[in-house]
């Protein structure tokens, strides 16, 4: 049975009039200012379509409301992201909420408490660890290994993560060739590239720059992914107050115009390509200029963007790394506020929900476990509760004697109800002081550390989703892809000279 996320949208920061005002501001931006796209094949495609105006001098494309609406009609609001078995398939629509890991931290905080550059073995281990988190739906690479060459690194990430997870893999690519290499790697598991095209087990993300810029590789990857029917997270990473205007409303406008230009491009290449409106935006800290994922304004921005993305009929990815450096009180409050607010706002994919800290620079093994706990508790709140004759319990109260009754702990109704209603904590300690002290007076971080070691030891004994032969074949395609990518870079550098 496929995974079906919780439907839990309860929070709205924008009313209908706000949404209309935002809609018109986005149309004005797209049709009168446009988006810069430094990729000729994309501009040529736009130039062939009614409703697009290309400024060839500045590489800017302006998109009319009509063309945008046409694209939004073909962009699906329901689709499936495939796992390696049906049990890991994710049914996406505008209501259901899922979680994902990621992304690309250069540093790790390891289980011995060391802060150091991440290596490929960290990527494998954390991927195995995260694959055991019951609440995780989509796997994304959490670190960028420092012992891997920067050219073609995404192919190494693919080979490492894809072979170590049952879940749909959230990938990235620098070139069209890299997308094709990833299709080939997935085909090793799926049987053929045709099967990958029919039921892709991975997705691609492209990250746009604000204000209103698509770099050549963004357009190249959008176009190639669309040809292969690979679902796309079309992501903008606005720095609210620096690369976009300081007000949240102004940032909402820029983000939507930027993302929607990418959605139109994907739909022009292959109508029906699943596109997810994605952001990893944050405010900048006005004191230092650093990106702040954990700021309350950032969470507010993400919650409001969920509403706007849904207004355009697109599923939404929000949520981002927090600012804490350690699995501490700051990490707990930042993650909990971010995850819960996004859930209640109907963010369909809660991004970087596991282990990501220090403005997307640091991945913590321990925090992955703590975040699973936080996410579990947040889902419990988001699920709410039912009011009906059974839960009102007036008959039970009367049966037990009303004011003359004793307690309900041993009633059949209680036993049947609590198992499906209560969230059972794993790492949270609810003991009184003496008992907690007698058990070693451990912090949540220590519990997380012990559990991480236990899961990792157990994970090494379990069969992987791909056979050793398939993993070797995937690795060979990866290494050949890296060799090709280096060749492309070498030729590009020569042409520069």
């Amino acid at each position: 049975m496929p995974r079906r996320g919780l439907r839990c949208q309860r929070l709205k920061f924008l009313d209908d009039s706000d949404l209309n005002a935002l809609y018109f501001a986005v149309i004005e931006t797209l049709s009168e200012m446009g988006v810069k796209m430094d990729y000729r094949p994309a501009l040529e495609l736009f130039a062939d379509h009614h409703g697009a105006t290309v400024d060839w001098d500045n590489h800017v494309v302006k998109i009319s409301e009509g063309l945008l609406r046409k694209a939004l009609q073909t962009a699906p609001s329901f689709f499936t992201l495939y796992g390696k078995t049906e049990d890991y398939d994710v049914k996406v629509d505008l209501e259901r909420v899922y979680t994902m890991s990621g992304s690309c931290a250069p540093y790790v905080l390891d289980l011995d408490g060391n802060h150091r550059l991440a290596v490929r073995e960290d990527l494998r281990l954390i991927t195995r660890l995260l694959d055991h988190m019951p609440n995780l739906d989509i796997m994304h690479q959490i670190v960028i290994p420092s012992d891997v060459d920067e050219v073609g690194y995404e192919l190494v990430n693919f080979a490492t993560c894809y072979s170590n997870t049952w879940r749909n893999f959230y990938s990235q690519a620098q070139t069209a060739e890299s997308v094709r290499d990833q299709v080939r790697m997935a085909a090793v598991f799926q049987g053929s590239t045709e099967e990958v095209k029919r039921k892709p087990t991975f997705t691609e993300v492209v990250c746009m720059i604000s204000p209103l810029k698509h770099e050549p590789q963004n357009s190249e990857v959008i176009m190639e992914s669309a040809r292969w029917n690979i679902p796309l997270y079309i992501e903008v990473d606005a720095l609210c107050g620096a690369t976009t205007p300081a007000p949240i409303a102004g940032t909402l406008v820029e983000q939507a115009a930027n993302v929607l230009a990418g959605v139109v491009l994907a739909q022009l290449v292959n109508p029906g390509t699943p596109c997810i409106f994605a952001i990893a935006s944050g405010i900048i800290d006005m004191r230092t200029g650093v990106y702040s994922g954990g700021a309350p304004e950032t969470t507010l921005l993400h919650a409001a963007t969920a509403q706007l993305a849904h207004h355009f009929g697109l599923p939404f990815q929000g949520g981002t790394g927090i600012d804490a450096k350690l699995p501490d009180a700051q990490a707990g409050y930042e993650r909990a506020l971010q995850v819960l607010t996004n859930m209640l706002s109907g963010t369909n994919f809660i991004h970087l929900a596991y282990g990501m800290m220090e403005q997307m620079l640091l991945a913590s093994y321990e925090q992955c476990l703590i975040d699973e706990e936080i996410i579990g508790a947040c889902f419990r709140i988001a699920r709410g509760f039912e009011v009906n004759d059974f839960t009102l319990s007036v008959d039970l109260l009367r049966k037990e004697g009303g004011p003359l009754g004793k307690h309900f702990l041993t009633k059949r109704e209680t036993r049947e109800f609590y198992r499906q209603d209560r969230w059972i904590p794993t790492l949270t300690n609810r003991d009184p002081w003496d008992k907690w002290e007698a058990a070693g007076a451990k912090s949540m971080r220590q519990y997380a550390n012990e559990l991480a070691r236990k899961i990792l030891a157990q994970a090494e004994q379990e069969p992987l989703p791909v056979t050793p032969e398939q993993a070797a074949e995937i690795e060979a395609i990866c290494q050949e892809g890296v060799r090709k990518a280096k060749e492309i870079i070498r030729r590009r550098e020569e042409s520069r000279k």
């Binding site: 920067e150 720095l239 200029g289 650093v290 550098e493």
Partner: protein, 222 residues
């Protein structure tokens, strides 16, 4: 001479009004105030005050940057007059700065460039996606004292080391102070790749640049 105008220029820089600063600098020149005196008496104390207000936590980044931009706007007016007189403003050093090849992130590097420029450095900002040869060609052309590199992506960080290696091969390493920065960059990384300086924000970068220039001058004397 109208000393009120000097006071107004000082205030315009502190309050970050670039257009006013530009107009006031022009008026002071028209009144015959020597360009060097305008810089030393009306402008440098202003940018120092902006820095002090930032240090004590009164000013935040927007005020700091607006002050720096007002300073730059006034300097743009004063500099041609300075050259006309054959005088030279004393610059602390010549900086070539850019975001390394493969990386298109602009804003952090631009903040550092503006801050250095407002604080007495001559700055050549090469923009983003800058290759080793582009960096070194400019270093040769302008006889740079400082080479500043930025990277936001963990995957483009290693390119900084390639630029440093290229500077060594080109025989330029010893004459240069090399500074690196950007979100994923750390002091340890800077040391590992053989850079001379690192700071985690723009105000820090100005301090580090000033210290390194003073150190280098000390070494050369000794």
């Amino acid at each position: 001479m109208d000393s009120r105008k000097c006071e107004e220029l000082y205030k315009a820089i502190i309050e970050g009004y670039a257009e006013d600063a530009e107009a006031l600098a022009r008026q002071l020149l028209d009144q015959g105030m020597p360009p060097l005196q305008i810089i030393d008496e009306c402008m440098v104390p202003a940018i120092q005050e902006v820095g002090r207000l930032y240090e004590i936590g009164d000013y935040f980044l927007p005020e700091l940057m607006m002050g720096a931009e007002a300073m730059q706007a006034a300097l743009k007016i004063i500099q041609p007059a300075l050259r006309g007189e054959g005088a030279r403003r004393e610059v602390l050093g010549t900086v070539v700065i850019g975001t390394v090849a493969g990386d298109l992130h602009d804003i952090g590097k631009s903040i550092v460039a503006t801050m250095l420029s407002a604080n007495g450095f001559d700055v050549y900002d090469l923009g983003v996606d800058v290759s080793a040869s582009q960096f070194l060609d400019k270093v040769r052309e302008v006889h740079a004292t400082i080479l500043g590199m930025s990277a936001l992506l963990p995957t483009t960080m290693p390119y900084m080391q390639r630029v440093i290696e290229s500077a060594k091969e080109a025989g330029l390493r010893d004459q240069l102070i090399i500074m690196v920065g950007g979100a994923p960059v750390t002091q340890a990384f800077a040391e590992k790749i053989g850079a001379d300086g690192y700071a985690d924000d723009a105000a820090g970068a100005v301090k580090v640049a000033k210290n390194l220039v003073a150190q280098k001058a000390g070494q050369q004397k000794a």
